[in-house]
C-alpha cells in the first residue's frame, strides 16, 4: 500500500510532472472528444495527414517568433484545402491525394528545420516533449483546447448529424460546407495540442484510438464521448507515470497504454468484443432479423 502511494505521489513532487499531467489531461479531453467524430466520419487518415502537415507551420512560426499554433493552423487547414482541390480537379482517389499532400508538407517541414537555425529540437516536434513543456506552450495549449472544446460542445449535434447523414443536414438548411471545414479546423488545432504531448508521429493515435475504443463499448453517442475521454485521460496519466518510473519515451508509453486499452475492449467489450461475438452465432450478430 505504501509502495503504491509512493509510486503515485513521489513524481508529483516534481513540478514538471504536475505540469505534464495537467496539460496531457486537458489535451486528452480535447482529442478524446474529437476522436469520436473522426472515428464515425472515417477521417483517421485525414487526421494523420493534418497532423503531419502542420510541421512546416510549426517550424516557420518558431523561426518568426510567432505562436506555433498560428503556423500550425495555417498549414493544417491549407493541407486540407489542397487535398480537396486536387481531388476535385483530378481523377486521383482521395487516399492517394492525402498520402501525397501530407508527405510533401512533412518533407517541407523536415527540410526547413534542418536549414532554419532556431532553438527547436526536431525530436520534440516528432515525439513530443510534455515533460519539458514551457509556460508559453502551456498557455497556447490551454487556449487551443478551450476553443476546440467550446466549438465541439456547442455544435455537437450538428456535427453528429453531419457525420451521420450530410444530405439530410443540408436539406434542412444546415451549412454542411461550413461544418466540414470547421471540423477539419478543429482537427488541425487538436493536432497541434496533441503534438505537445505525443509529437507529430503519434498524435494520430490521440485522434483515433480513444474514439475507436469507446465505439466498441456502446451504441449511444453520449456515452461514447465520455468513454472516449475517459480512456484518453487514463492513457495519458498512466503513460506519463509509466514513462517516469521506467525512464521510457513518454509518447510511446501514452500511446502504448491507449493501444492496450483498445485491445482489452476489442477482446472483452460486452456486445462488440471478440469474445461476445464468438458466443453468439456470427451470422446472427451481423445481420439483425429482417
Amino acid at each position: 500500500m505504501t509502495t503504491l502511494l509512493t509510486w503515485l505521489v513521489e513524481p508529483l513532487q516534481q513540478e514538471f510532472m504536475v505540469r505534464a499531467l495537467l496539460v496531457s489531461t486537458l489535451v486528452s479531453c480535447v482529442c478524446g472528444l474529437l476522436s469520436c467524430y473522426m472515428t464515425l466520419k472515417g477521417w483517421a487518415l485525414m487526421g494523420d495527414a493534418v497532423s503531419h502537415a502542420v510541421m512546416p507551420g510549426v517550424v516557420i512560426a518558431y523561426a518568426l517568433n510567432l505562436p506555433f499554433a498560428v503556423g500550425a493552423f495555417v498549414f493544417g487547414v491549407g493541407s486540407v484545402a489542397l487535398i480537396g482541390y486536387i481531388k476535385q480537379m483530378t481523377r486521383i482517389k482521395e487516399d492517394t491525394v492525402i498520402g501525397l499532400v501530407f508527405t510533401g508538407f512533412f518533407a517541407l517541414g523536415l527540410t526547413l528545420i534542418s536549414k532554419v537555425r532556431s532553438s527547436i529540437d526536431l525530436s520534440h516536434i516528432l515525439f513530443g516533449n510534455v515533460l519539458g513543456i514551457s509556460s508559453s506552450d502551456i498557455l497556447q495549449t490551454v487556449l487551443i483546447s478551450l476553443l476546440v472544446l467550446t466549438v465541439l460542445v456547442v455544435l455537437r449535434k450538428d456535427l453528429l448529424l453531419f457525420c451521420f447523414d450530410p444530405t439530410h443536414a443540408r436539406s434542412i438548411g444546415l451549412h454542411t460546407g461550413v461544418l466540414h471545414y470547421l471540423l477539419l479546423s478543429m482537427l488541425s488545432l487538436a493536432a497541434v495540442a496533441g503534438l505537445q504531448t505525443v509529437g507529430i508521429i503519434l498524435v494520430v493515435a490521440m485522434l483515433v484510438t480513444p474514439g475507436a475504443t469507446a465505439y466498441l463499448l456502446t451504441d449511444r453517442f453520449d456515452r461514447m464521448v465520455w468513454l472516449s475521454i475517459l480512456s484518453a485521460v487514463i492513457s495519458s496519466v498512466a503513460g506519463i507515470y509509466w514513462s517516469y518510473w521506467m525512464d521510457a519515451s513518454t509518447a510511446g508509453c501514452i500511446v502504448l497504454v491507449q493501444t492496450l486499452l483498445f485491445l482489452l475492449c476489442f477482446l472483452l467489450a460486452p456486445r462488440h468484443g471478440l469474445l461476445a461475438q464468438r458466443r453468439r452465432s456470427p451470422r446472427a450478430s451481423r445481420f439483425p432479423s429482417a
Binding site: C163, F164, H168, S171, G173, D219
Partner: protein
C-alpha cells in the same frame, strides 16, 4: 387524420422550368420541366445515370442549375429549404446502420433546422417526434440503436424523420429496394396517408411494377423529362422504349454515354 402542414398558399408543390444541370461541362439534365400539385404521388422512372439523383439534388438545392428555375410551394429553393419544405429519404444502402444513434435521435434530427443553435428539443419538437413515431408504429422501439431494427422498421424510421420535419415535399430514393411484400404494403399505406394530407411524394424507382399500382403521376427521365403526367397516359410502351431503350437525345450526346457523374 388532419393535415399538419403549415398553411401553404397555392396548390403547386413542385415547379421545375427548363432545368439544365451540368457537371464540369457534362450535361446531366437538359431542359427538364415538370409541375406537381399538392397531394400527388409521383414516380420518377429512369435508368441509372439518367439524372434521377441529379434532379433530386436540384430539388434540394444542392446543385446550381446552369439554366432554368425551380420553385417549391411557390418559393425559391433557398426559402423552401429554410422552411424545411423538402425531406429526403435516403436509400437504405447509403445509411451507416452501425452509427451510435437510436431511433428517437434519428427522428429528432428532422427537427434540427427548427431548433436553436444548441439543438435542445422544445416540447413542440418532442411532440412532433412522438407523433411521427406513433404514426409509423415505432414509438415502443424509440430507444433502439438504428442497426437493431429490421429492414421494414428502418424504412419507417426515416419516413418518421421526414414527418417530424413537417415536409410538404418528400423525395424518396429507391424506397422499395430490398423490401419484403408486407413492408411494401405498409409503406404504400403510409404514402397514401401522406397524399391525403396534401404532401407530394416523388419516388425514384427503376421497378416499374410499383408505378401503376399507387402512383398518380409518372415522370420518365433520360437526361431530360421525356414525358410526365397521369400514370395511365404516360405509361405507354412507346415512352418506356424511349426511357429504357437507350435512345439518346441529340441535346446531350456527351452525357448519354457517361456514367453517373454526380457522386458527391
Amino acid at each position: 387524420m388532419p393535415s399538419r402542414l403549415p398553411h401553404l398558399s397555392g396548390n403547386e408543390r413542385i415547379s421545375v422550368r427548363h432545368l439544365c444541370v451540368e457537371y464540369h461541362g457534362v450535361v446531366a439534365v437538359h431542359d427538364a420541366s415538370l409541375h406537381l400539385d399538392a397531394g400527388t404521388i409521383c414516380a420518377l422512372v429512369g435508368m441509372n445515370g439518367a439524372g434521377k439523383s441529379t434532379l433530386f439534388k436540384a430539388l434540394m438545392g444542392f446543385v446550381r442549375p446552369s439554366a432554368g428555375s425551380i420553385a417549391i410551394n411557390g418559393l425559391p429553393l433557398k426559402e423552401a429549404r429554410r422552411a424545411r419544405a423538402v425531406a429526403y429519404v435516403p436509400q437504405t444502402e447509403s445509411v451507416d446502420w452501425n452509427f451510435p444513434v437510436n431511433v428517437h435521435e434519428v427522428v429528432m434530427m428532422g427537427r434540427y433546422g427548427a431548433m436553436n443553435l444548441l439543438r435542445i428539443p422544445r416540447p413542440v419538437d418532442r411532440e412532433a417526434v412522438k407523433e411521427a413515431l406513433d404514426r409509423v408504429d415505432l414509438w415502443p422501439l424509440r430507444d433502439r440503436q438504428i442497426g437493431a431494427l429490421s429492414g421494414g422498421q428502418r424504412k419507417r424510421a426515416f419516413l418518421a424523420r421526414a414527418l417530424a420535419q413537417g415536409a410538404s415535399v418528400m423525395l424518396l430514393d429507391e424506397p422499395f429496394n430490398g423490401v419484403d411484400i408486407r413492408t411494401e404494403k405498409l409503406m404504400i399505406e403510409l404514402f397514401e396517408q401522406f397524399r391525403r394530407e396534401g404532401r407530394t411524394l416523388m419516388i425514384s424507382t427503376h421497378d416499374l411494377s410499383h408505378v401503376t399500382g399507387f402512383c398518380d403521376q409518372v415522370v420518365l427521365i433520360n437526361k431530360t423529362v421525356l414525358a410526365y403526367g397521369e400514370t395511365a397516359s404516360v405509361f405507354t410502351s412507346e415512352n418506356l422504349a424511349l426511357t429504357f431503350g437507350g435512345l439518346r437525345l441529340e441535346a446531350a450526346p456527351a452525357a448519354a454515354t457517361d456514367p453517373d457523374p454526380q457522386t458527391p
